[in-house]
Symmetry: C2
Subunit: 340 residues, 2 copies
Amino acid sequence: MNEMYTNRHWVLAERPAGEPDLDCFELTETETHEPTEGEILVETRYLSVDPYMRGRMSEQESYAEPWAVGDPLNGGIVGEVVATESDAYDTGDLVTGEGLWAEYSCLDADDVAPVDPSVAPPEAYLGVLGMPGRTAYFGLLEVGDPSPGETVVVSGAAGAVGSVVGQIAKLNGCHVVGFAGSDEKTTWLTDDLGFDAAINYKSVDDYQAALADAAPGGVDVYYDNVGGPITDAVFTQLNLDATVAVCGQIAYYNAESMPTGPRKLPQLITKRATVEGLLVGDFSNRFGVATEQLSEWVADGTLQHRETVVEGLSNAPEAFLGLFAGDNIGKQVVRVTEES
Amino acid sequence: MNEMYTNRHWVLAERPAGEPDLDCFELTETETHEPTEGEILVETRYLSVDPYMRGRMSEQESYAEPWAVGDPLNGGIVGEVVATESDAYDTGDLVTGEGLWAEYSCLDADDVAPVDPSVAPPEAYLGVLGMPGRTAYFGLLEVGDPSPGETVVVSGAAGAVGSVVGQIAKLNGCHVVGFAGSDEKTTWLTDDLGFDAAINYKSVDDYQAALADAAPGGVDVYYDNVGGPITDAVFTQLNLDATVAVCGQIAYYNAESMPTGPRKLPQLITKRATVEGLLVGDFSNRFGVATEQLSEWVADGTLQHRETVVEGLSNAPEAFLGLFAGDNIGKQVVRVTEES
């Protein structure tokens, strides 16, 4: 292809101290390089904003490499192939992979996967059929590993990961309780997703008492996306041999220093409980299994999903910041259009 | 037997609020009942005081049943059979089991085990060859499960459990670092027990820096007996796929309320670490294996052990309270003699 594309893309303008704001982001303009052998040029339809990206804004090493100041921001995208130097994809194909917070990304064709809009709308490939869905799948089934009849509690339950965790737990015959931050969210969990109970932590003072009501038999598996006082409360209700799968700790991502602790380990002795951190990348050799199963469940309506869409590339930072205010129900995505 | 025995024994006089003191204990006098069919009367030689007993002084349910106010205190003892209605033991035999903080205990012969003074002095059957030794054995090998070449860190390293944990880790080819509370203790760990390094946490300000020096390759297995700031520091140095075996949390046993937390779970995600609470009773069907192996190691000098002896039944509460001040090196026991 010979056409050149002007590409607007976001860079990290400065590192946040504590809570990030719009000053951390800058929208710049470059030209894309053309695809070379094996590459495709993808025009972004949707881009993903995820809580883990907060870690990449900080200097300290974590599981995801820090962004450098001035670096283009990247993450999951869904887009259309507009130029191809690969036999695997034709122009017009929809694909998903790791791309830029930009109008265009030039990607290695081996690093993307096809998107089938007959299974689910394209944006679902950033949520239930993307990284969050796989995180829920492996984190619950491989780390949490609940048995039928057991009680599973999930925090951040109305988020992209939590909403899938709870539904898979229900499919496995568990009693499922979710913590979420609005009545709209808790109603979605119980009425649409089939959770047995959901606690709006913003309207409840005593999390421990609320959980004891919702999970009178105690907690066998806790899938933790948040940390903080909700997790403190759940630890008090763990059953013997309980498992805590630590997937996210959004309560601390904007903390200026790492909180002291751990502080509830005595309960681990009493309950011989296990707390295990998980990262979806560790299961990458079995992503295909998860995607196939999740696609089947989505296609036949077994698994519900929801995406919260912010319009326009220019609003990507707001969409990201909204994650920490709990603005999203289900997966937060940004829709990128020509005029946006 | 027809003789009656006057028995002095300790009871729980009142529950402590926070740190216990001598007012919590009262020495009373009763007569023992005579052994009936299958029972033996044991005259106490040594009784064990252990940090876990602090939990039994409190009302709230834990893994060990709370003592009621007015109840006789009980725990591990070593003693001599002075009357028997069992074929299994003759008078004069030394046995170990769960008895009273008293001069005499009437016990079911099925619930005690023989003490062989040719293997180790009788008091060692309350330490390296008793519950603490088995806790170290199963906790390290089954929960911590280190591989040769890995770095094992143990807190409370000069205690009854920690001193055995570190030596077994050395036998397994690990790099071993201990935290302890005096230069006498750290010298014992490095010079006599073969620890690679030991940190006197009372003379070091920056635990994290001290640990980074002592364990430059990071921490693969952390055997935690204490909790608190030492554990906070170790969490910052965990390697990928690290395991934390939570055996004790003495830093919190005298806390008036359970500390809030957990607070360092973000590090579990980064490191995909596992934190697991353990209780030696869960391994009871394999106690024989452990005792046999530990006895062999003690008999041939592979495993060093040390007991701190307080003289006299009347001083048992002081011995117990000394555990929280770190008075003991190795296993704290009380020697019970006729005149004491």
